[in-house]
């Protein structure tokens, strides 16, 4: 994969700070950790969800349940962007009545989030769904916005935004690559 790097918009420290702030914002808006749940969209959203739960444990000493969601079966672009590598959805708690914070790495067109909300609804009836993303890069195609944003990154729709995390990629950075078809 030879893509020319355009810019590193977040480094490891910036990612850490953003997550800590988002964790505080989630607690503030929910007035504590009561009734919260994090659901990360595979793969990197799941990692971020785990980290947000750890932050909340450090801040409030409270355990927030964490689940992972694979939205392959809910996509609206099966014919063009088919994902054969389906991973398991794992929601080891009852969603009903909880305030579910969906977590993803990059918010782009909003289609992934639409699919994720449809998937969540099949598992139960959360009292509310909030959205937390590490990067919001704009170019929405659906009326969807994030409640908690690590960083807003203005991009052109031809660029690619890639989040690298230690757990999945061995390093921590948010990078923009130039002149490619849109992603995420």
């Amino acid at each position: 994969m030879t893509k020319h790097t355009k810019a590193v918009v977040m480094d490891a420290t910036a990612v850490e700070r953003a997550l800590t702030r988002v964790a505080h914002e989630v607690l503030e808006s929910n007035k504590g950790a009561e009734g919260l749940a994090f659901v990360g969209i595979v793969t990197r959203g799941a990692v971020l969800a785990q980290r947000l739960a750890e932050r909340i444990r450090e801040i409030e000493g409270a355990e927030v349940p964490v689940g992972t969601l694979d939205i392959s079966f809910y996509r609206d672009d099966l014919a063009t962007r088919f994902n054969p590598e389906v991973r398991r959805t794992d929601l080891p708690f009852d969603l009903s009545g909880r305030c579910v914070v969906l977590v993803d790495d990059v918010l782009f067109t909003g289609r992934t989030i639409r699919a994720a909300m449809d998937a969540l609804m099949d598992y139960g009836r959360p009292s509310c769904i909030r959205l937390a993303v590490l990067v919001d890069r704009g170019h929405r195609e659906l009326p969807i916005r994030a409640d908690f944003v690590g960083k807003n990154v203005p991009t052109s729709s031809r660029e690619r935004v890639k989040v690298h995390l230690a757990e999945t990629d061995g390093e921590e950075a948010v990078v923009i690559y130039g002149d490619e078809e849109g992603d995420e």
Partner: protein
């Protein structure tokens, strides 16, 4: 996304395809445990069950799989269709083509009928059992069940017991086991084996009791009592005594070994009632796996564009 557009026999699938189908089926199995067992994945697509030979469980399994994926399933069965009025398979295929269906599951009494359909239709074709040839989705769900029950497939010794020469289940299961690194052993009296059993690609044994202690899976085939030419052994009682699975035989198997049967069972013939209902019998697990595996097959054949084959 599989290496083949159709699944007509196990020859169409390589070991990567098989691994992918089994993995995807695991995700679908989770859906089948939910209260809402429906996904929007194949919304708007039409799947035709072209069953020109009697079948209840396979047809139902495909039908449920299609419904859970939100595809529109249409049943075309022999007794209630124009085939009774003498329509040829070619004309039936042309009719289905004209209706723009997206996937056809076909069961037919003649081997090769699914392959013939591929020449007449543009959509992917899945063989739901053709004559004495193959029944690939059965083999896939059997692999899935074995993997779930025993944790792995490689190195397993699977004894396939019964009417090998008339079994399309064995026809698919033997190559399927070989592709995943397991060892198939066919166990039957010579009259139930093809004249050249060596071409099956399986080890051959005549005496069930001799190989029993080595087996990880005892796969009991159905004795097809409805066969017109009678059964090539003296009596059902003798068959049951020599080749039937019963509690005494099960006790001589490895403690973790399991018993499987593609159904419908002849209790008291190839499998005794107490074994069929025991916790080492995975017959119902096989039925349950069938839906998830068939959902995976549909998903992987219909994903990635009209052709179903990745660029």
């Amino acid at each position: 996304m599989l290496s083949s557009k159709h699944i007509l026999s196990m020859d169409d699938l390589n070991s990567d395809d098989i691994a992918r189908i089994l993995e995807t089926a695991e995700s679908f199995a989770e859906v089948n445990e939910r209260r809402i067992k429906k996904l929007p994945t194949l919304r708007g697509l039409t799947i035709v069950n072209l069953f020109l030979e009697p079948s209840t469980r396979t047809r139902m399994s495909f039908e449920i799989a299609a419904k859970r994926l939100s595809a529109d399933g249409v049943n075309f069965t022999a007794s209630s269709s124009a085939t009774v009025k003498g329509e040829s398979l070619r004309d039936t295929a042309a009719t289905l083509s004209a209706m723009n269906c997206d996937l056809v599951i076909v069961r037919h009494k003649y081997a090769g009928a699914p392959r013939m359909l591929t020449e007449m239709m543009d959509c992917p074709i899945v063989n739901g059992g053709d004559g004495l040839h193959q029944h690939p989705t059965q083999a896939l769900l059997d692999l899935y069940t074995m993997k779930r029950a025993l944790g792995h497939l490689e190195g397993l010794k699977v004894g396939i017991v019964g009417d090998i020469s008339h079994s399309r289940v064995a026809g698919s299961l033997i190559p399927a086991l070989r592709k995943v690194g397991a060892t198939p052993i066919v166990i039957a009296p010579p009259t139930l084996l093809p004249s050249r059993p060596d071409v099956l690609g399986a080890e051959v044994a005549w005496d069930l009791d001799e190989v029993l202690p080595e087996l990880d899976v005892a796969y009991m085939l159905r004795i097809q009592m409805e066969r017109a030419d009678g059964m090539p052994f003296p009596s059902l009682r003798e068959y049951a005594r020599l080749y039937g699975m019963n509690a005494a035989r099960m006790a001589r198997m490895k403690p973790e070994a399991i018993v499987m049967h593609p159904g419908p069972m002849n209790r008291g013939v190839e499998i005794s009632a107490d074994v069929a209902d025991s916790e080492r019998s995975f017959v119902l697990a096989q039925v349950e796996s069938g839906v998830a595996v068939r959902m995976a097959v549909m998903y992987l054949l219909l994903g990635g564009g009209d052709s179903g084959v990745a660029a």
